[in-house]
């Protein structure tokens, strides 16, 4: 715990405006050495900007005001760009959002890791000794527990896994020996098991005396690491207290809302057995691997999905979940095995004969922004789906009727009909995902295949979208294949769970069996690694 170290940063009355829009409003906090303060809020709450203010990296056009802004005891309010450059990397390090793209893809990991050190720690020295550089890089990579540091230093970021890239990014932030680290969503893009290790690494850094400002949308992810949590909402800190207190007795209603939104492993009552609507019989899909050989993306997986039920598929990135989804959707033909839709052949048919039945099987993708045409209005998106369905069913419903039905669909997914004239970029992430769901419903599907449908969303929005999917499933008696890396999310909806690893189904059973009595060690590891709020 943060045994009162000296204060490394103190902020009071911090406001950031873009023109008339106040994005950060009268924010105050301190971070001491060896302490972790977490700022938690939804996207757009101003938390990222607040973190950037500590490095003087507010984007152009932002007007910044503060009654106090000290970094390592020095007043930073009047800092020029040149002053800030001396602070960045040497006193304050940034672990930027989105570890996968935060390192320069064209430079070797070693060069990226050493850069801050080169800039700050060796002033005057025209050229640093190559041997000294190398040993410094290796030391830094060792410090963040990167295996085979000599090899990794020579590689490029894209040759590293997500977890290693995040470690290399942390090493690069540590390179100039900062006393304060600003970590913006350091675990968001990572698999659960990798997430846990990165959090452990950050905890270690904290113990070594570094002050840590952790920024996240996910209360559960920060709960273990943070000494104090500041909840940010619409640019203001609405509640700021020690972690344990805040979690056990939240005062502000918004904090309570965030807490409720955290998915908890919770098994739903089992539904009765309906008929099998979708079935895979030991399907396999192989791809040529880089170099020689093949990669078994999906390896002999069998599954059954019954009417009105949800099958959750859990696994880490690269485990073959999405390939399996593509095989089920008959977007990929399996090399072995067969997929049956409503008891009839599906994967073996030629596409021409599948087309009339495609409406029964609809996809909800992770990234609704990518799956909605940016030039189409929402009305256009829905009309297209409706028209497709009308011609497919032989019916000739008129355009007037379609307007009405599009409105009804939006209402069904909890959106106002006023959004019909908007385009995707004018909607929030949650609204876009609802539109994607409405579009799928327009085809009157019997099965929804949801591939990480809430992974790109804030925790609070996640909860709402999950609720919607749950309601639709029950009202429309839909069956769902629900793919996620997050066991807690899956457990909320799933009747059956299938755990995938390296293309194989390592464990399969009812949600109750798998989550309460996991048999495979990998399932147990996934369950342990899932960030969880300490039970009150």
């Amino acid at each position: 715990m943060g045994s009162a170290g000296r204060t490394v940063t103190r902020v009071r009355g911090l406001s950031i405006r873009f023109g008339d829009a106040v994005v950060v409003d009268d924010v105050a906090f301190t971070v001491a050495a060896g302490e972790c303060l977490a700022i938690v809020g939804e996207s757009g709450s101003g938390k990222t900007l607040t973190g950037r203010a500590l490095l003087g990296l507010a984007p152009p056009g932002a007007a910044l005001e503060a009654t106090e802004l000290t970094v390592t005891g020095l007043d930073a309010r009047r800092y020029t760009e040149r002053d800030w450059r001396r602070v960045r990397g040497s006193r304050v390090g940034l672990i930027a959002q989105d570890a996968l793209v935060a390192l320069d893809p064209l430079r070797r990991v070693g060069a990226e890791v050493i850069e801050a050190f080169e800039v700050h720690a060796a002033p005057g020295r025209a050229r640093m000794d190559a041997a000294m550089r190398r040993s410094r890089v290796i030391d830094l990579l060792r410090r963040v527990a990167v295996p085979e540091p000599e090899l990794r230093a020579r590689q490029y970021p894209l040759e590293l896994s997500g977890g290693l890239r995040q470690r290399a990014l942390i090493a690069s932030a540590l390179s100039g020996d900062p006393v304060l680290l600003v970590a913006d969503e350091p675990t968001t893009a990572l698999d659960v098991t990798v997430q846990r290790r990165v959090l452990e690494l950050l905890a270690e850094l904290k113990r070594s005396g570094i002050g840590l400002l952790l920024i996240s949308h996910d209360l559960a992810a920060v709960a273990q690491l943070a000494d104090r949590i500041a909840v940010m909402h619409h640019g203001r800190i609405v509640e700021s207290r020690p972690t344990r207190e805040l979690l056990s007795a939240p005062e502000h209603p918004y904090t309570r809302m965030l807490l409720d939104a955290v998915p908890r492993p919770d098994v739903r009552a089992e539904a009765g057995d309906g008929e099998v609507v979708l079935e895979a019989r030991s399907v396999s899909k192989r791809y040529p691997a880089p170099g020689r050989g093949v990669r078994r993306a999906v390896d002999g997986v069998s599954l059954q999905l019954r009417r009105g039920q949800t099958l959750g598929i859990v696994g880490e990135s690269g485990s073959g979940k999405s390939t399996l989804a593509r095989v089920l959707l008959a977007l990929e033909r399996p090399d072995h095995g067969e997929v049956l839709l409503e008891g009839a052949p599906w994967s073996v048919l030629p596409e021409r004969r599948r087309r009339t039945r495609r409406h029964a099987l609809q996809l909800i993708d992770q990234d609704p922004f990518g799956s909605l045409d940016p030039r189409f209005t929402i009305a256009h998106v829905l009309h297209e789906a409706l028209r497709l369905n009308d011609t497919g069913n032989g019916g000739r419903a008129g355009a007037r009727d379609r307007v009405e039905r599009a409105g009804a669909l939006l209402a069904e997914v909890g959106l106002e009909t006023g959004l019909l004239s908007r385009r995707p970029h004018e909607l929030s992430g949650g609204q876009r995902q609802r539109v994607a769901i409405a579009r799928a419903l327009a085809r009157e599907p019997r099965v929804l295949v949801c591939d990480e449908p809430v992974s790109a969303l804030d925790v609070s929005v996640q909860a709402q979208v999950l609720e919607l999917l749950e309601r639709l499933r029950d009202e429309r008696r839909l069956s769902m294949v629900f793919i996620s890396h997050d066991l807690a999310v899956v457990s909320r909806l799933a009747d059956h769970v299938l755990v995938m690893r390296d293309g194989r189904a390592v464990e399969q059973g009812t949600a109750r069996e798998v989550l309460r009595h996991p048999e495979h060690p990998f399932t147990r590891e996934l369950l342990d690694a899932a960030p969880r709020l300490p039970s009150p």
Partner: protein, 337 residues
């Protein structure tokens, strides 16, 4: 089922075994290197063949008798002499036979120009130097001026000016730029000769004429590339390390922009070759551009085909070099290949 122990670095290792496959392909030369080189060479020959064939068809499709053009409008020559010329040049043969004869001679280098009555290879060899000097200097000018523009545009105050200037250069036709340069620096200021065709001073204005439109394009694309690179997340990380603007440019964004600009090289070479035709005409210079114009006007089929084959070869070689360079700059390209 894969053996699994609750070992700390397992998930990372698992992914790493998969990555190391691509890692080997990066450092060790793949065994198929020879096969790939042969493939590239084959592709190059195919492009040259396709281009010459298309040229042959196009030239044959133009109505009229090439012998008329060869002899000139004013010549009054009897039909028997004309026939003799036809036989001499093989123009009496069916088109297919002509095609293969021309192609065969092109490959062996025995093709003769109708107009100049000497081997096309000799003509090209003689005329290549002036054009190489012209295009070479133009390239130097274009890259130099573009660099100046890019550096000036780093200052926010000058950016709109640079961008307007770029647009003006890109939009102006080459021959017009040439005439303006001639009028101002040649006739008015008399800094450079207007008629001489030898020596460096005589080369400056033509090269500049050729260079200016390219400057606009290169500078535009390069600045866009830099802007794109610096809006990416890694640029924020880099700035958060306390690096200067100069270092951000030299160590990070320049490399990204260079990769994007290199893919423009094919277009640049095309502009240089096409521009040489115009510039050599406007400045009355010798060179391959002038030869091209004369060959086309004179329906000198062998000469035109040889020039087409040459241009195709130049394009193919440049594209090969660009591919190698881009792979050198961007490890992502290397690994995908």
């Amino acid at each position: 089922m894969p053996p699994s122990s609750p070992d700390g670095g397992r998930a990372a290792k698992r992914v790493d075994t998969r990555r190391s496959a691509s890692q080997t392909s990066l450092s060790a030369p793949p065994t198929s290197l020879v096969a790939r080189a042969l493939g590239r060479l084959g592709g190059m020959l195919l492009v040259m063949w396709g281009a010459t064939t298309a040229g042959f068809i196009a030239l044959r499709a133009i109505p009229g008798d090439p012998v008329d053009v060869m002899l000139g409008v004013t010549a009054s020559v009897g039909e028997s002499v004309r026939q003799q010329i036809r036989v001499e040049w093989g123009l009496d043969e069916p088109p297919v036979v002509q095609y293969f004869t021309v192609l065969g001679r092109l490959v062996t280098g025995e093709l003769d120009s109708y107009q100049l009555r000497q081997p096309v290879m000799t003509v090209i060899a003689d005329q290549a130097m002036p054009t190489l000097q012209l295009t070479g200097l133009a390239l130097v000018f274009a890259l130099g001026l573009a660099t100046v523009g890019i550096l000036l545009a780093r200052l926010p105050a000058l950016r709109p000016m640079v961008s307007t200037f770029e647009l003006a250069l890109v939009s102006s036709p080459t021959f017009w730029i040439g005439l303006v340069l001639l009028a101002v620096f040649g006739y008015q200021l008399r800094w450079f000769p207007t008629a001489a065709s030898a020596g460096l001073p005589a080369l400056v204005l033509p090269a500049l004429t050729l260079a200016l439109p390219l400057t606009g394009i290169v500078s535009q694309v390069f600045r866009q590339g830099i802007g794109h690179a610096e809006s990416q997340p890694f640029a924020l990380t880099a700035r958060a390390r306390g690096i200067s603007d100069v270092r951000l440019l030299s160590r990070h964004s320049l490399r990204h922009a260079a990769g994007e600009t290199l893919t423009l090289s094919g277009y640049l070479v095309g502009s240089l070759l096409g521009g040489a035709v115009l510039v050599e005409t406007v400045f009355a210079r010798q060179g391959l551009g002038a030869v091209t114009v004369r060959a086309i006007l004179g329906r000198d089929l062998p000469m035109v085909l040889a020039l087409i084959a040459l241009a195709a070869a130049v394009f193919a070689v440049i594209n090969l070099l660009v591919d190698l360079l881009v792979a050198r700059i961007d490890p992502r390209v290397r690994m995908a290949g």
